[in-house]
Amino acid sequence: MAQSNKNKHYCQIIEAAIFAAGKPLSIDDLKASVLSEFKLSLSAIRNLVREVQQSYEGRGIELVTLASGYRFQTIADVSPWLSHLWTEKAPRYSRAMLETLSLIAYKQPITRGEIEQVRGVAVSSNIIRAMQERGWIKVVGHKEIPGRPALFATTPAFLDYFGLESLDQLPQLETVAPTTFELGVQQPENQAEKETTPQSDSGESDVRETSKSISESR
C-alpha cells in the first residue's frame, strides 16, 4: 500500500514533468531532475513511465517514445478535428526536399554529390540549409575524397518530428523489381504482358504530379 502510494506519487511527478517540460524528456533527464532526490534506478523509472504510458491508452493524448525521450502528444486519430484550432495549414514539403531527406535518412552518412547522383539533379543549397535550420540533418564528418565533402546524417530531432524512436521505424524501402524496367525490344511478348501490371502501382504518384503542376500554373 505504501509502495503503491509512492509509485502513484512518482507517476504524478513524471506525468507533470513530461507535460510541462516543452521538450522530450529521457529517463536520464527524469532521474537527474524531477526524480533526483529519490533513489530510483533507471529501470524503475522506465517502469513508472510505462505505467503512465499505459494509463493513457484510449485517450485523446498519448505518451510516445521518441529518439530524444518521452513526449505527450495528441493521438493522430483526432487531428482532422484538431486542425480547426489553427487557421494556418500544416506545411507541405516539396518532392525535392522529401527525396533529399529520404536519401539522407536511408543512406546516411551521405554527401551532397551522392544525393545528386541518385536524383539526377543538383540539390539546392536552400533545401540543405532549411533542413539544417530545422535541426533535422547535420554534418557528421567529411568524406576523405578530393574536396572533402560534408557527410550528412539525420538527427534525433528529425525522428522526434516524425514521432519515431529510431531510424528502423521508418517505412521499409521498397525495392523495384528489375523486370519492370526491361526496356523492350528484345522481348516484345514479355513486354506486353508486363504493361498491365506496373502501371497500376505507379498510378497514384502520377496523379499527384499532374495535379501538382496544375496548381502551380494557376
Binding site: 514521432g163 502501371q199 499532374t210
Partner: protein, 283 residues
C-alpha cells in the same frame, strides 16, 4: 505554426487530388492539357515541364511508366535539334537544371547509337548493355522517389499530431542553484576576521577547541526544555579517553558561558545538567 520556416522549405505545393482536366499550362493562350508524350517538349512549356519533374530521371521514369516510352525508338536528330532550341530559351531559366536534361538526352542518344551499331559478338559477358547503367540509375531513383512518398505519409508534428507544454501550477518556482563554496574560502574568511580583530582573544584555535565546540553543540541539542539529564548521558565511553575529555571540556565551557546549569544534590550523588534557566523572566 512555424509558417516562416516552412514557407522557405516549401518549394512547391503538393495538392493531392484535383480534377484532371484543368490545363497543365497556358502557352500562347492555348491550354496544354497533357503531360509530354516523349522527350519532345514544346520549348514554351519547358519551364513548366522542368518544374513538374524532379529531373531527367523523374521525367524518364514517367515516360517509361505512363507513356510506354521506348528508349530505343528515339529519333536522335530531332532530339538534338530540339534540345539546342531549349538552350536558347534556357538563358532566362535555370541553366543548371536544363543541363541535366541535356545530359540525359545525350545519354539516350549514346544508347541509341550503340544499339544501332552492328553487334560484334566477341566477348559476350564483357560488353555491357549500354542500357544497364541507365536502368540501374532509374531503379535506384525510383526506390527513393517512393521512399519520399512514404515519408510524406508518416504522421508528423503539427499535421497529424500536436503538442504544447502545459502550464505549471502557480506555486512552482524555478529551482535555485546555490553557489558553491570552497572550504578554503571559508578558512580564509575566518582568517580575515581574525586579522581584522586585534583584540580577538581566542585566536589560538586548536583541534581540541574545535571538537569541544562541536560537542557543545551536541550537548545543547540533547538538552530540551527544562529537564535535567544525568551527567553520564553525555559520555560515550566507546569514544575512548579523548572523547570523554572532549565532552568534559565541552560541559565546562558551556557552564562557563552560562549556557547550562549543573546540579549535584548530595556529595557523590549523580550530577545533573539542564539548560540554564532564565536570568529574568523574559518569556
Amino acid at each position: 505554426m512555424n509558417a516562416e520556416v516552412d514557407a522557405k522549405i516549401e518549394d512547391r505545393q503538393v495538392i493531392t487530388k484535383e480534377p484532371e482536366q484543368i490545363p497543365l499550362a497556358f502557352i500562347r493562350g492555348e491550354a496544354v492539357l497533357e503531360q509530354p508524350e516523349d522527350l519532345f517538349i514544346p520549348p514554351e512549356a519547358l519551364e513548366v515541364i522542368l518544374e513538374a519533374f524532379e529531373g531527367p530521371l523523374d521525367l524518364l521514369l514517367y515516360l517509361i511508366r505512363k507513356q510506354k516510352f521506348d528508349i530505343l525508338d528515339l529519333p536522335i536528330n530531332q532530339i538534338t535539334a530540339q534540345y539546342m532550341e531549349y538552350v536558347e530559351i534556357m538563358k532566362d531559366l535555370n541553366l543548371e537544371l536544363a543541363a541535366e536534361y541535356l545530359v540525359m538526352a545525350a545519354i539516350l542518344a549514346e544508347i541509341k547509337s550503340r544499339l544501332l551499331l552492328p553487334k560484334i559478338k566477341v566477348d559476350e559477358g564483357e560488353d555491357e548493355d549500354p542500357r544497364a547503367e541507365l536502368i540501374r540509375r532509374l531503379q535506384e531513383y525510383e526506390v527513393f522517389k517512393k521512399a519520399a512518398e512514404n515519408l510524406d505519409e508518416v504522421p508528423r508534428d503539427e499535421r497529424d499530431f500536436y503538442h504544447e507544454p502545459i502550464d505549471i501550477a502557480e506555486n512552482c518556482q524555478p529551482k535555485i542553484i546555490l553557489p558553491d563554496v570552497d572550504l578554503q574560502e571559508l578558512v580564509s574568511a575566518f582568517s580575515q576576521v581574525l586579522k581584522r580583530v586585534d583584540n580577538f582573544k581566542h585566536h589560538q584555535i586548536s583541534a581540541e577547541v574545535l571538537s569541544t565546540r562541536e560537542r557543545m553543540t551536541k550537548i545543547l541539542e540533547q538538552l530540551e526544555g527544562d529537564t535535567f539529564l544525568p551527567f553520564s548521558t553525555f559520555f560515550d565511553f566507546s569514544e575512548g579517553k579523548q572523547g570523554v575529555v572532549v565532552t568534559f571540556l565541552a560541559i565546562l565551557e558551556l557552564a562557563k558561558e552560562k549556557l547550562i546549569q549543573i546540579q549535584q544534590n548530595l556529595a557523590l550523588a549523580d550530577i545533573h545538567i539542564r539548560r540554564a534557566p532564565l536570568l529574568e523572566s523574559s518569556e
